[in-house]
């Protein structure tokens, strides 16, 4: 199978994620879109690893997974805390620092 197809898929997933981050208001959905972008990047890494025939891309994919796991922990904690105090998961409502 042509490796380039994986890259097209990766670009598609990344675009969906990026658009989701920009246009959605629900924090959980935005969060999931971020995960989507991270994994789209992971898919690219692995594909390039395959194309170039070395393991660097795969190693970096593991790193990304670790970062993503940490980010999920911290991010979910923040979202839950905000939800508890404000009864809302809309990220547009959490713009209080501006004021």
């Amino acid at each position: 199978m042509n490796a380039a197809n994986y890259l097209y898929l990766s670009a598609l997933l990344f675009t969906i994620g990026a658009v989701g981050v920009v246009i959605r208001r629900n924090a959980i959905v935005v969060f999931m879109c971020i995960e989507l972008m991270l994994n789209a990047a992971n898919l690219s890494f692995v594909t390039f690893s395959r194309i170039n025939g070395d393991l660097n891309g795969q190693v970096i994919a593991f790193f990304t997974m670790v970062v993503a796991a940490c980010e999920v922990v911290v991010g979910l904690a923040i979202i839950v805390t905000i939800y508890r105090s404000r009864r809302s998961a809309s990220i547009d409502d959490a713009s209080l620092l501006k004021r």
């Binding site: 547009d92 959490a94 713009s95």
Partner: protein
């Protein structure tokens, strides 16, 4: 040269007194004046002891030095803080400490009602110490320290009653005008160092022979500028009249007897420079001649007794400067007039203080009159000083002033005639204004205010006046008897060839006495025959008006120096605000403006941040893609 270990006590004693009084503060109020007087007197006795040692040595071995410490040491250039006492210095030392001690004694009583008497005595002691350093320093740099010190003491004492704004302004005026002169002295020191590589008196004296005349002339002119500042000579004379704001003992000590004669000392001390720089020497004579007429003319119009005496001081110092500018023949006579003037002018100032003391501090002579009966001792001592300044034989001024007039005539040529006539005319005007002071103050009808109760001053005040009066009578004869002072000072100056005498001493004395008689007669006709108005008449001639305004000296200074100075300051302030402040504020305004503009980006919405990051990332990738294509 011989060394001595006791010279330092001359300065250290009054300096210690000043330090103790200032540091102990109010605690020393009770005994401060006694300590200061005692220390001044002990300094005088150290001076007498030094004189006795000097008299015991042969003429060439009389100067002594004392090295205090190594002051400046840069490579091969070394300046020690060291003192030198020679035949010239000892004259000043005895005058400063002697007259100074008498004025300390006088001030004990004069200032007894002043809450700040201790501070006054601290400053007096500081002045004595600084003045002694001035005359004892063995290099121009050491002299400079004393020179600045007396300027400081003068400033502090003129503004002693600085609760009155006018007095504080007078002290500032004196200080600023003195600073102009001080610049001259510092320039002279710099030129001497640049051309000769030394600033000690002996070093400069030795280097004169192989130094260009141009350099010597510029040093001489700068020294003259310094002398005009400190000695209130034309064109830096305007501060002396206002300096009378200080307490009267200060006027007597600093602004009549000692500090204002520092310029004469400087020129006499630098005789080797002026002898080798005829242009500078000529300028000295011109400055002296102008000032002696200038002061005399101002003196004729002043109703304030202290200002009349101040104008007279200016004029008499003009005589000294003129004498010092006449070269080797004149130095000794300048110093002689300086010493006799120290006696009679200090005596007259103390007399004026005594009159003010009895008249509720009234200084306007038009409000005096007929004080002879109420203040007999003041009248007698003032009268002796009056006779001395007029030059009536055998009083002191007769010897010293006539010698200057005679020397001026005998310089030869047109210069001699002009200078002789100026000095003669000056003597006549001096007689006029001093007689005016005598008549207005002591004779005629009383024109006092109702609350005035004139009375004689206590003995602590009249005793110094009496001693100074004795000096006014005898000092001239003692100093000139057998050319005592001339011979005493002769090792310091180059020997001079005798001039052909234009006029014999007898003729000069006759002429001078005739001028004095004319001056006295005019004053008698004008002020003794007619009633004196208690308020100064205003319908007077233009000359009187100008003389009352000090010959427009302040107007001149304001128009020529103050007004352009203020314009310059205004321009500089504007430039500072527009250019320098403008640049600094501009930088701030740019930062502030760009900050405000960028603030719009900070919406607080996470999604817009995310969109911006995305756009940035895309733009970055696009840029990299374009570059690598």
């Amino acid at each position: 040269m011989m060394t001595s270990t006791t010279l330092v006590y001359l300065i250290a004693l009054p300096l210690a007194g000043s330090a103790i009084l200032l540091l102990a503060g109010r605690r020393s109020d009770k005994w401060g004046h006694l300590l200061a007087t005692g220390l001044s007197a002990s300094s005088f006795f150290v001076g007498l002891y030094q004189l006795s040692l000097m008299l015991g040595r042969s003429n060439s071995e009389r100067p002594v030095t004392q090295k205090l410490f190594e002051w400046i040491s840069v490579g091969t250039f070394k300046i020690d803080a060291s003192l030198m006492l020679d035949q010239l210095s000892i004259c000043f030392v005895l005058l400063i400490t002697g007259v100074g001690t008498l004025i300390h004694i006088y001030s004990i009583s004069y200032m007894s009602h002043d809450a700040d008497r201790r501070r006054f005595f601290a400053f007096l002691n500081l002045f004595i110490a600084a003045m002694l350093l001035l005359v004892l320093g063995d290099s121009y740099l050491n002299l400079y320290v004393g020179w600045e010190g007396v300027g400081l003491a003068s400033y502090l004492l003129i503004g002693f009653w600085n609760q009155k704004p006018a007095y504080a302004t007078a002290s500032k005026k004196a200080f600023v005008m003195n600073r102009v002169g001080d610049m001259g002295l510092s320039f002279a020191i710099m030129i001497a160092f640049a051309t000769m590589g030394t600033v000690s008196f002996s070093g400069v004296k030795a280097a004169v022979d192989h130094t260009s005349t141009a350099a010597l002339t510029s040093i001489g002119i700068m020294l003259l500028v310094a002398a005009t500042g400190k000695s209130a000579q034309f064109p830096l004379q305007a501060w002396l009249g206002d300096a009378m704001a200080g307490p009267t003992p200060v006027s007597a000590l600093i602004h009549a007897a000692t500090m204002v004669t520092a310029g004469v000392y400087l020129i006499t001390r630098s005789n080797f420079i002026f002898d080798a720089a005829p242009t500078a020497q000529l300028l000295v004579v011109i400055v002296g001649a102008i000032t002696l007429m200038f002061g005399a003319l101002i003196g004729t119009a002043k109703d304030d007794i202290k200002k009349a005496l101040a104008a007279s001081t200016m004029s008499q110092i003009g005589y000294m400067i003129l004498g010092a500018g006449l070269g080797p023949v004149g130095y000794a006579f300048a110093i002689m007039h300086l010493l006799t003037h120290g006696f009679f002018k200090a005596g007259m100032f103390l007399g004026a203080g005594s009159v003010m003391h009895g008249m509720n501090d009234e200084v306007n002579m038009r409000k005096y009159g007929a004080l002879r009966k109420f203040m007999p001792i003041t009248f007698a001592t003032f009268g002796l000083g009056y006779l001395a300044i007029l030059g009536v034989p055998p009083f002191a001024g007769f010897y010293s002033k006539d010698m200057i007039i005679e020397t001026a005539f005998n310089t030869g040529g047109a210069k001699g005639i002009i200078l002789g006539c100026v000095t003669l005319l000056g003597a006549g005007i001096t007689a006029f204004y001093m007689t005016r002071v005598m008549i207005l103050t002591f004779t005629g009808k009383s024109r006092w205010d109702d609350e005035a109760h004139p009375h004689e001053s206590p003995w602590l005040m009249w005793l110094p006046m009496a001693i100074l009066a004795i000096g006014s009578v005898t000092s001239g004869y003692l100093l000139s008897h057998g050319d005592a002072l001339v011979n005493w000072l002769s090792p310091l100056f180059v020997n001079h060839a005798e001039h052909a005498e234009l006029l014999s001493p007898l003729v000069v004395s006759g002429l001078a006495l005739a001028m004095v008689a004319i001056g006295v007669a005019i004053a008698f006709v004008k002020y003794s025959r007619n009633e004196v108005a208690a308020v100064a008449p205003t319908d007077v001639s233009i000359f009187t008006t100008i003389a009352r305004q000090d010959l427009l000296q302040d107007r001149f200074n304001e128009a020529v120096f103050m007004a352009p100075g203020q314009v310059l300051t205004a321009v500089l302030v504007k430039t500072d605000e527009a250019v320098i402040d403008g640049a600094v504020r501009g930088v701030g305004r740019i930062a502030l403006g760009s900050g405000s503009a960028l603030r719009g980006v900070q919406t607080g919405f996470v999604r817009s941040y995310a969109a911006l990051i995305l756009i940035g990332a895309v733009a970055l990738v696009a840029a990299i893609w374009v570059v690598t294509q």
